[in-house]
């Protein structure tokens, strides 16, 4: 058989359960406890409102540059919902809704976005990694954590997030290859929000889907409607279960959309048409989920109103508290902390010299 087609067992499915018109595929509809559905909704609403609030704080100069998440809430929350506390989430930088679900405080986000390293603190009781800015690089950490989980024979799972742009990075490739070779319990969640700053998905790679990149590593890949929290949840649950039970890694491509700016330093008008944004607005994951919950009788207009009010208050309080907390962070000497377990001698000398200098110039009344 000199020219033979090689039988490849892999294939790529696209999963969608709750479509943009609110129509549900009842065959695929997952059974999720009402309380979980409502908690997911609350977090989604909180994330949406907090994102809006951060944007206005940024415009007021009360925080620095940050990456809004609007439009991607379902792709965050559907993914992390099947996890348990002992699992680890390894985020990129645009998974705020997932962070909140995992227990990150609103305060820490405000503090971080004000340029205080203290905002990155992970509480002792929480696993998970802090935000990772270099695109794609964190995938390898998730792979290493998953390696540890397998080594320790736990049935925990590491889940990492990254964007469509990240799939071009060498670290994406190396990470997925290691995950495949070592059959690691890691779930690789790609937030394909169609844009990497100004580069559209079509210019990022010539492959038809991002999910099919899984083929290259001998691991399963699936594409889901990322604005459909039910579809994301089902795909993630399957992947998490596969990982827990020793079945190895899965690549999930969530097809979603970045509704807002890349970061508050970005002007998307330069590179994408409003019409595209409008089109995606109709696919809003929040209204879609709310429609579903209302149809199920779990949510009424009054419920939502009450939640909105509670959330507004929660955000209000958190921002106020964060601004209060930041007053205690004024000591510049904090910049010498957490460099090493023990401060090296020469760094102590630098710190001492800094103190001397601060005293000297404060006495002279200037330290510009």
């Amino acid at each position: 058989m000199p020219k033979t087609r090689i039988a490849l067992p892999d294939s790529i499915d696209h999963l969608s359960i709750l479509d943009e018109h609110g129509k549900i595929d009842t065959d695929l509809e997952p059974t999720i406890e009402n309380s979980l559905l409502l908690r997911l909704h609350r977090t989604m609403l909180l994330a949406r409102r907090f994102d809006e609030r951060l944007l206005s704080l940024q415009r007021q100069g009360r925080i620095g540059t940050f990456p809004p998440i609007a439009g991607q809430e379902a792709a965050h929350l559907g993914a992390v919902a099947p996890l348990r506390a002992s699992d680890w989430v390894v985020p990129a930088f645009r998974e705020m809704a997932a962070d909140l679900w995992r227990g990150r405080s609103l305060e820490s986000i405000v503090i971080y976005n004000n340029g205080f390293n203290e905002g990155g603190r992970i509480p002792a009781e929480r696993n998970d990694m802090p935000i990772s800015v270099p695109v794609g690089s964190q995938i390898l950490h998730a792979v290493g954590i998953a390696w540890g989980m397998k080594y320790r024979a736990t049935d925990d799972v590491a889940m990492t997030f990254f964007g469509d742009g990240a799939t071009s990075q060498g670290d994406f490739h190396e990470g997925l290859n290691f995950a495949g070779v070592f059959q690691l319990p890691v779930v690789l969640v790609c937030q394909n929000n169609q844009w990497a700053i100004s580069i559209p998905r079509s210019k990022q790679t010539r492959s038809q889907t991002l999910a099919q990149k899984a083929f290259a590593y001998g691991i399963p890949g699936i594409q889901v409607d990322g604005n459909d929290i039910l579809a994301v949840y089902v795909a993630a649950r399957e992947a998490v279960e596969r990982a827990r039970s020793g079945g190895g890694a899965t690549l999930i491509e969530c097809v979603t959309y970045r509704m807002a700016v890349h970061t508050t330093a970005d002007d998307p008008k330069r590179y994408r048409p409003d019409a595209e944004v409008e089109e995606w607005r109709r696919k809003d994951p929040l209204t879609r989920f709310q429609g579903y919950l209302a149809a199920k009788g779990l949510l009424t207009v009054d419920n939502v109103k009450a939640e909105e009010e509670a959330i507004a208050a929660e955000i209000q309080t958190a921002v106020a508290r964060a601004e209060e907390e930041m007053k205690a962070l004024g000591d510049p000497l904090l910049m010498f902390e957490h460099a090493y377990a023990e401060m090296p001698e020469y760094l102590s000398e630098q710190r001492a010299d800094f103190i001397r200098f601060m005293h000297a110039t404060q006495k002279e009344g200037d330290h510009a």
């Binding site: 620095g64 540059t65 930088f93 971080y112 004000n114 340029g115 205080f116 390293n117 905002g119 935000i131 800015v133 270099p134 695109v135 794609g136 742009g165 990240a166 071009s168 990075q169 060498g170 990497a196 700053i197 100004s198 580069i199 210019k203 990022q204 790679t205 330093a265 970005d266 330069r270 590179y271 962070l329 510049p332 904090l334 910049m335 010498f336 460099a339 090296p344 020469y346 760094l347 630098q350 710190r351 800094f354 200098f357 000297a360 110039t361 200037d366 330290h367 510009a368």
Partner: protein, 327 residues
């Protein structure tokens, strides 16, 4: 002469070099339609088209590695790193190939590429957006490492870098990008790579700096004069490597008192090389230890504390006064 920001001046350099030489290609993340996140490549795609202004996928090693191939083939790629903090992904390609293909092929190939990267603090940015690791590149034989400090010299040096037959790492002080305007001639202007400049004459002490640190250094010199009647000589390195030490040595011999200023962490930073050269070549003229006014040996803090990390006017003045009171 029109007054320009550094961003505009760099844009002018690219625009004119692209018009002059169709082998000049601009590539990188978001350099096309978006005009670069700092707008240095603004409008180039409208003038020169997608053929010559290339938005790439998100992969720094590939941007550098592809540029190496382009350069070997005879083009003059000017590639952009979006931020200094992501340029280390290219370290292997630059160390192993860009800097060595001339040697490896015994002169048959060479790599006339420019790798541009905004570096340094001062723009309230996120983590990895404020680093200053020019010492990495400066330590690699076969490379050139250039850092301008003002719109005019940025334009002239970028033109020279593009025309240079060897690979040039071109760090742009992002704190200076829009900080002030300067007259920049429309007509072509170059500056020799590998030469520092004396930007202020003085006889009492020498301040050596580059990039974003030039402004606080010059202000410090003014303040030293105003408040203390001290005449500081100020030298702008412009090229970090290959380091031209002639002017530094000459000045150190004259003043006997020298401070070197940079925002990179102190240990194993560029300042150490300046000290070592002065020790080698002006030791017997030094009247006080050469002082280093630098970033501390920690990761540059997020923006709220950045100002304490970065050398400012007061720290430079403080160091200068210690120097003057030595012995």
């Amino acid at each position: 002469m029109p007054k320009m920001t550094m961003v505009q001046a760099l844009n002018l350099a690219l625009r004119q070099e692209m018009a002059r030489d169709e082998s000049v290609i601009v590539l990188g993340e978001d350099v096309g339609v978006d005009g670069g996140v700092f707008r240095v490549t603004d409008g180039l795609i409208e003038t020169f088209g997608e053929r010559r202004v290339v938005d790439t996928p998100l992969a720094e090693s590939a941007i550098a590695g592809m540029s190496i191939g382009m350069a070997v083939y005879g083009l003059k790629p000017v590639c952009e790193m979006q931020f200094d903090g992501f340029s280390y992904y290219t370290m292997h390609q630059i160390e192993a190939h860009a800097s060595r293909l001339r040697l490896r092929s015994q002169g048959r190939h060479h790599v006339p590429m420019v790798l541009r990267a905004p570096y340094g603090g001062g723009v309230r940015a996120l983590e990895h957006h404020s680093e200053s690791r020019e010492a990495f590149w400066a330590h690699i034989p076969g490379l050139k490492m250039v850092i301008p400090s003002s719109p005019r010299n940025a334009r002239a040096l970028l033109v020279s870098a593009i025309r240079d037959p060897d690979p040039v790492i071109f760090y742009e002080p992002k704190a200076v990008y829009r900080a002030f305007r300067e007259e920049v001639p429309e007509e072509e202007e170059t500056l020799p790579i590998g030469r520092s400049q004396r930007v202020r004459e003085g006889r009492d002490l020498t301040l050596i700096a580059y990039g974003a640190m030039m402004r606080p250094t010059l202000e410090a010199a003014e303040e030293l004069k105003r408040q203390h009647g001290v005449e500081a000589e100020v030298i702008d390195l412009l090229t970090i490597s290959p380091l031209d030490d002639s002017l530094l040595v000459e000045s150190a011999r004259k003043t006997g008192r020298v401070a070197v200023v940079h925002e990179a962490p102190r240990s194993f930073g560029p300042g150490a090389e300046v000290v070592a050269r002065l020790v080698e070549k002006a030791f017997y003229h030094l009247e006080a230890p050469v002082a280093r006014v630098t970033g501390y040996d920690v990761v540059i803090p997020l923006f709220s504390r950045e100002k304490y990390y970065l050398p400012g006017v007061a720290r430079i003045v403080d160091a200068a006064r210690s120097l003057l009171s030595a012995q």
